[in-house]
């Protein structure tokens, strides 16, 4: 089954000077996402699957698919570890 990502509803975020700042008010931790991470975060809607989002990103950025998927896996791992997203 394809994995679908959901944002933690407690998280608040804002684009600040080209970075997306994510804040988890429950533990006070914050994270900065770069441009690709920022677009990835925007596309997480609880409906699209991970491969769907990856396809959309491939259309937005000039990057090799393998490299993108590897980077996304790393990013998702960090987001999950910090309770910013959940995977169904």
């Amino acid at each position: 089954m394809e994995r679908v990502l959901k944002k933690n509803p407690d998280i608040i975020w804002k684009d600040v000077k080209g970075e997306t700042i994510l804040l988890n008010p429950i533990n006070g931790k914050y994270f900065g996402l770069n441009k690709v991470g920022c677009v990835f975060w925007e596309k997480i809607d609880g409906v699209r699957s991970l491969p769907d989002i990856a396809e959309l990103l491939l259309g937005d950025f000039n990057v090799e698919k393998e490299r993108l998927l590897k980077d996304l896996e790393d990013l998702i791992k960090t987001l999950q570890e910090n309770n910013l997203v959940t995977i169904d």
Partner: protein
């Protein structure tokens, strides 16, 4: 480098990097800066975001060590995260107040940050400042309590809770806080805008047309009422002059940047008319003169501050006292006891304020606790004793 020199250097760098002249005239300030101390001082102002943007300018980048930029970038991100939280809390609060039928005006930082810095991450938001109508006080209190806020007593207050309630009534403001997860939201709720006692008697801030001169600002996606730029300037300058006694870089820099952004748009005739008393004009004039002196005449022309600050309103050496206050790190009780009696534009006003401190226990006692009753003839001595004790305890601390 001592604190005054450090502060002067920071102001000098801001003036240079905001200058229209190229190349910068005071680039030498960047070369001989003691960066670790400078970064520490900047972080204390809570303005890491602003300085990160300022130092990242193309023209300055090569002059500043990369480690400094990186340290400020990290601090700026922390400030941004903190402000994202405050902004979301403020938006929720404004929505709730609107639903509860409480008319309000958002004051200070949150109301103009986007305008003067270009984003809301430039400096740390320490609280949400709201002005409400006095009649809405109870309704607002109930709303805040229902939202999980609690009323709190300022930690430095030394009197009883009853004394603090008296002080709250006198100042027309109360403080609330709420824990949300690991973070805390602070609200300063004003149902009156009043100067600190005993200055409130002669400044009469309550009678200023705050409500009649307002505009709109977006907080997140929520439209909020704010003061017009003229009233924002008056409020910001009086807050710096009276509440902070011209102390601390943060409010001064912000006031300067406000003038830098809006100076040409401000209706100075309106401001002169609204600040109708010579005392109030003097306070604004001192602020404007400090900006002209430290940031350059292009920020606020000397013709502007001279109009607000006629020579006759100042005592010899008085301006130097205010400049010294600006170079201090934090406002002090001593500065308060010196600046307040100096503030009026006339000799009779100064004497009146001094007599308030000496003969009216509220001038000094309320902050300390009012359980001691002393005969009237002993009051001046007792008040002087309390002032001395407060100053001593501060210096010991």
């Amino acid at each position: 480098m001592n604190r005054p020199e450090q502060n002067k250097k920071i102001l000098s760098i801001i003036a240079a990097l905001n200058s229209d002249e190229r190349p910068f005239v005071n680039m030498s300030d960047l070369h001989d800066a003691e960066w670790p101390a400078m970064v520490e001082a900047i972080q204390k102002t809570g303005m890491a975001g602003y300085f990160y943007s300022l130092f990242s300018q193309m023209d300055a980048h090569g002059e500043i060590p990369a480690t400094v930029i990186e340290t400020l970038r990290k601090s700026a991100r922390r400030v941004a995260a903190h402000n994202v939280f405050y902004e979301s809390q403020c938006a929720a609060l404004l929505k709730g107040l609107s639903a509860a039928g409480v008319d309000n005006i958002i004051l200070k930082g949150m109301s103009y940050m986007q305008d003067i810095y270009g984003d809301t991450s430039a400096r740390t938001m320490s609280d949400i400042d709201l002005l409400i109508h006095p009649d809405d006080r109870l309704k607002t209190l109930e709303f805040l309590m229902a939202c999980g806020y609690s009323n709190y007593i300022i930690p430095s207050f030394q009197g009883t809770p009853e004394d603090f309630t008296d002080l709250t009534d006198l100042t027309g403001e109360a403080h609330f806080m709420k824990k949300t997860g690991a973070l805390t939201v602070n609200i300063d709720l004003h149902w009156r805008l009043r100067a600190r006692y005993p200055m409130n008697d002669y400044l009469a801030l309550d009678s200023f047309p705050w409500w009649e001169n307002s505009g709109t600002v977006m907080i997140g996606s929520v439209p909020a009422k704010r003061l017009s730029i003229e009233m924002q300037f008056i409020h910001l300058a009086l807050h710096f002059a009276i509440h902070h006694q011209y102390t601390g870089l943060r409010w001064f820099i912000e006031l300067g940047l406000f003038i830098r952004r809006f100076g040409n748009d401000l209706d100075w005739e309106f401001i002169y008319g609204a600040a109708s008393s010579p005392d109030c004009r003097k306070l604004l004039g001192v602020c404007l003169r400090l900006i002209a002196d430290y940031m350059g005449n292009s920020w606020t022309g000397s013709e502007v501050w001279r109009r607000f600050l006629p020579k006759s309103s100042m005592l010899p050496g008085e301006y130097r006292v205010y400049k010294n206050c600006l170079m201090r790190e934090e406002r002090s009780r001593l500065a308060s006891y010196i600046c307040m009696p100096l503030s009026p534009a006339t000799l009779s006003g100064r004497l009146r304020l001094m007599s308030s401190f000496l003969f009216d226990s509220q001038g000094v006692i309320l902050w300390h606790g009012s359980d001691t009753r002393v005969p009237k003839w002993l009051k001046p001595f007792y008040n002087l004793y309390i002032i001395g004790r407060q100053l001593l305890s501060v210096s010991r601390a």
